[in-house]
Symmetry: C2
Subunit: 302 residues, 2 copies
């Protein structure tokens, strides 16, 4: 089953303690699509400017990402420039140019409207809801958001959350949205807003998932070098939704496996600048690291 993702495609210029890179392909929809494409076909709905290079179109097409929903408009592709602090846990925005993304109004084609697996990457919750309004018979809907929308569009965000099944959010955002410091109480409050499952990303500490009747926690893969954390959360979501769509059902077992695959994909993407590591990644690499996750977390090893 294919996945529909709606979100941003950007160029990122990054400064990390390990070096700098100029205008590398980024954006939530991009990271998500490339990660998910290892598991299931992906249809991307996004907008870029006329400056968007053919070679990146070719790269995404080779990864079997359907770009019929990628609108190319007069103007510039959005771009972001950021600098990470030494501990990689904080970053500053040095420059932001939304370009054509500032007028993004997601329009679904007829094929998109039939999507059963949908991920609403971090954009204005009003746009996220407009996507849901266009779907014929929505199935499994995941969404992300960010501190800006929690502060500036809370009513719209809460209305959206009443219509999604999985909320993928980081721990600071979970605290901000719920008003609870304790992460368990935060998750319980967020469940009341609608989503059946709350997936809280905790950076180097991994992911913890809450539903009404289960809790599942998985550590992040311990890496000696985190080269560039950009896109790790969107890559996690791509692996997650990819494995759910591949499985075709959302059981507890599928969800847990999908969270681990999401963590596997995130552990790869941070090993190089931007999408670099995902460009050379193989399914064998993914399976090997999945087995390493099993070993990392196995309470009763053979």
């Amino acid at each position: 089953m294919s996945i529909l993702v709606v979100g941003s495609v950007f160029f990122d210029s990054l400064q990390t303690p390990h070096g700098t890179v100029e205008r590398t392909l980024g954006g939530a929809a991009t990271y998500f699509s490339v990660a998910a494409s290892f598991f299931a076909p992906v249809r991307m709905v996004a907008t870029v400017g006329e400056d968007f290079p053919q070679e990146e179109i070719d790269f995404l097409t080779e990864r079997k990402v359907d770009l019929s929903g990628l609108e190319i408009r007069p103007g510039r592709t959005g771009s972001w420039k950021g600098r990470y602090h030494d501990d990689m846990n904080q970053r500053d925005t040095l420059d932001l140019d939304l370009g054509v993304f500032s007028d993004f109004k997601p329009q679904l084609g007829d094929d998109h409207k039939k999507a059963q697996y949908v991920f609403l990457a971090n954009i204005d919750p009003r746009l996220q809801e407009s996507v849901l309004d266009q779907l014929a018979a929505p199935g499994i809907i995941g969404c992300d958001t960010m501190n800006h929308w929690i502060a500036e569009a809370r009513p719209e965000l809460e209305r959206l959350l009443g219509r999604v099944g999985l909320l993928v959010i980081n721990d600071e955002e979970a605290r901000q949205l719920s008003g609870e410091t304790n992460i368990v109480r935060a998750a319980r409050r967020l469940l009341k807003l609608g989503p059946k499952r709350i997936l809280i990303k905790r950076g180097e500490y991994g992911v913890i998932q809450f539903s009404a009747d289960s809790v599942f926690a998985v550590p992040a893969f311990p890496l000696e070098v985190v080269f560039d954390p950009t896109g790790a959360g969107d890559t996690f979501a791509g692996g997650l939704m990819g494995e759910i769509a591949r499985s075709g059902a959302l059981t507890e077992a599928t969800l847990r496996r999908a969270i681990v695959y999401g963590s596997v994909m995130a552990s790869f993407v941070v090993e190089d600048f931007g999408l670099g590591r995902l460009r050379t990644l193989t399914k064998e690499d993914i399976q090997k690291r999945f087995r390493q996750f099993v070993s990392l977390t196995d309470i009763n090893p053979a």
Copy 2:
């Protein structure tokens, strides 16, 4: 097999967002002993003043903690007063009176010297090493330390680490001692100092263990209320060493199970002030929470 622990017995006065308590029984050796006593017999070597109440002697004796190494000296039992910040991750020392602990010189009796399972709780590394010098044929030695000794007695601490098998340390201390920000590189450096296994406590994020050929990570148990985090690390070490001594061997499987039991014990102790929760805890409570840890971390649930 019994466990020998050497460390502090204190009275703690605590202020947390959930309330305050005056002069409750605390100290690393106390938390360790009570936790370990659920798994194996414990012999405690420590010192208290003449003000130490008979009812606490009775409590520890009922828990089958051998107090033949508890020296009662003229003067006051050490006491500490601390206040936790709202997020419970930081605390300030308001008052510290070492009392008779300031002259603590651990002296092992003949039975103590034969110990095969030994835990050196956080005290001056010179005193920790003096305990090792008194052992007849040391078996499995664990130790803890703190930022003060890393800064003030690094050569002595490094010499000690060449003689211990398990280092139990928190993440900040691991970074300080290794000079590495990344926790994987920090652990690799600490392994070079001597210990076969480095166990890094990460507070609400659980524990990660490194050896030359394995990595194991377990989350902390997600609790809606952390009432009082005092002693959580020592309680973890007690459950850990207790299960290792109960098993009688240090295989990878034993170590992982022991880390989970340590995490189980720590998850209980923070549910009440001081040792409160451990005073009423049962083996059934422990087994039930162990099963909850299995469920919490199981990548392939049935």
